[in-house]
Amino acid sequence: MIMSDIILKTESLTKHYGGVQALEGVDFELRAGEHVAIMGDNGAGKSTFVRQITGVEQRTRGRILFNGKEVNFKGPLEAREAGIETVFQNLALADDLDVPSNLFLGREKILLNLGPFSILDFKGMRAATDAALKRTAVKIPNLGNTIRNMSGGQRQCVAIARTATFASKLIIMDEPTAALGVQETLQVENIIRQLKANGEPLVLISHNMRQVFDLVDRIIVFRRGRMVANLKKSETSGEDVVSYITGAKTGPEFAGAA
């Protein structure tokens, strides 16, 4: 494979909180159109890893390359502007606004520019929302409803559609279905399949083994802040992944990490 194929690459990414080594020397790669799952026990460093990439926290050591260029995001906004969209565990939606307003929050379409009193282009945002929901196969009956009046699954769908609206270069989802019911989970999984069909790369953090095997191409296992396995889905099984998570096994190339 050629270098330009790599969307995201980390080199010995390390994060210490005081004396605690939350993340230690992670070398990670994500290629164009690839869906990768990150698995691991609680406290294995999955969320810490995401927080370094999305600029929510500043890494202790290591390099992050995004689209071939080294990046140093000062905050989550810079990461977003660069094209990394994240769906966090706690949804970042404004409950009292409707769907288009949430999708376009902070980057509204403007009809007439009058500084802070610029007039909004409701029609344009509505149309773009329709298009984005179609692209992600999300169905929400009444876009004019406020988020407050929606079910947990619909909220999550809006949060995900929001990431997909802005032709992002990379989507990261941190346990997107952890708080959802069965049917709502199916809906979110459909969106993820749609993203795959659209060729949009994704990093998925999940505890759900079935979901991971259903959705992704590759599974990365973290244990005690280190990467301990990098498995193609076709070459592994649920039991195999569990043994990596629990520490019964460690990938040969990560022998030093155990």
Partner: protein, 342 residues
């Protein structure tokens, strides 16, 4: 096909659209008017509503606080509170009036400097400038020093009242020019209120400013994550609230033809009560200027009705207190019910 099945499940789960709070206020307003009408015919023997003079007095009386309430509405929608409005009315009223006096009055504040008989734009700008300073301080303390809005504006409430009292050592200021008094003529204050209310209604509904105000009040963390400059926006929200308080002060002194340091006392609470009665949520994110205007009319009708029925002024204050508490209790109940439904 699988998608279709999921979508259908969703339709069933779809919550019905909630009853708008403005409608509650409208129903309340109509009910209160009808009660006074009925009581009026049975006790006083005349109509409460079909009296042009009473209605015009009522509406000019509440219009001044209404202007203040428009500013307070957008503050509360942004998730904050502004207790300083009444005192800013007092401070800008006093200082603006000192630049509006006639030259033939020998004890005019700035007679010695020759600052009398000035065009009306001068006292208006001076009044707004005083308010702007207060707003900038409020905004800076809340947005950048991160003080709770309650505390920051409570401080301003005390300090701005101090300015109003200090300016003339407690003496009233009178004898404004005829041109200046024209601002308070007849129904002019009402037209000013309507103009301000319509303008801010449109701003809150159709502009970036409005959208971001609701977003910040709804979920400040989400607004920040979305790239909204929350600090700059809150600064603007409090500056606008203070400017509207200043404008209310100017209209008030033009109507009263005098300025007293106690002007505006407790008006901030009336304004907050109007917004809450009108369905603006004290926890932010919800409400409208239309609701506040309805809340203002409810206020006006109740007090005009008490005068109509010759109810003692002391009872009026007791009832006012009950209305404020009742409105907040209603807001809490509404939220609890919504939280349960969601």
């Amino acid at each position: 096909m699988r998608n279709a099945g999921v979508a259908m499940g969703q339709v069933e789960k779809q919550r019905r659209k909630p009853w708008p709070a403005e409608l509650n206020a409208l129903i309340g307003l109509i009910a209160i008017m009808l009660i006074f009408e009925i009581v009026g015919w049975s006790l006083v023997g005349q109509s409460f509503l079909l009296n042009k003079l009473r209605l015009s007095i009522m509406i000019t009386q509440v219009a001044v606080v209404g202007i203040l309430a428009v500013g307070v509405t957008q503050v509360i929608i942004s998730g904050g509170i502004d207790l300083s409005g009444g005192s800013i009315i007092g401070a800008s009223a006093m200082i603006a009036m000192s630049f509006a006096q006639i030259g033939t009055y020998p004890r005019a504040i700035f007679a010695a400097q020759g600052l009398v008989d000035l065009p009306i734009i001068v006292p208006i700008l001076v009044g707004l400038l005083v308010a702007l300073m207060c707003g900038l301080i409020n905004g800076a303390l809340i947005a950048y020093v991160k003080l709770p809005p309650f505390i920051a504006t409570l401080g301003m409430m005390v300090s701005a009242r101090g300015v109003a009292l200090w300016f003339t050592k407690g003496q009233p200021i009178s004898f404004p020019t005829n041109a200046f008094m024209s601002i308070g003529d007849g129904l002019t204050p009402v037209w000013i209120f309507i103009g301000i209310a319509v303008l801010f209604s449109l701003i809150l509904k159709y502009t970036l400013y409005g959208k971001h105000t609701y977003a910040i009040g709804s979920n400040q963390a989400a607004a920040r994550m979305s790239g909204i400059n929350v600090e700059r926006h809150l600064m603007l929200v409090y500056v606008i609230a203070s400017l509207l308080a200043g404008l209310a002060g100017i209209v008030l002194i033009a109507r009263s033809q005098t300025a007293q340091p106690v002007f505006g006392t407790m008006n901030e609470l009336d304004a907050i009560a109007m917004t809450v009665i009108g369905g603006v949520s004290l926890s932010g994110g919800r409400g409208s200027i239309l609701g506040t205007a309805l809340g203002m009319l409810i206020f006006g009708v109740i007090f005009s009705g008490f005068i109509f029925l010759s109810v003692d002024a002391y009872y009026q204050n007791m009832v006012k207190g009950a209305i404020i508490v009742g409105a907040v209790a209603l807001d809490q109940w509404r939220q609890k019910r919504q939280a349960r439904d969601a």
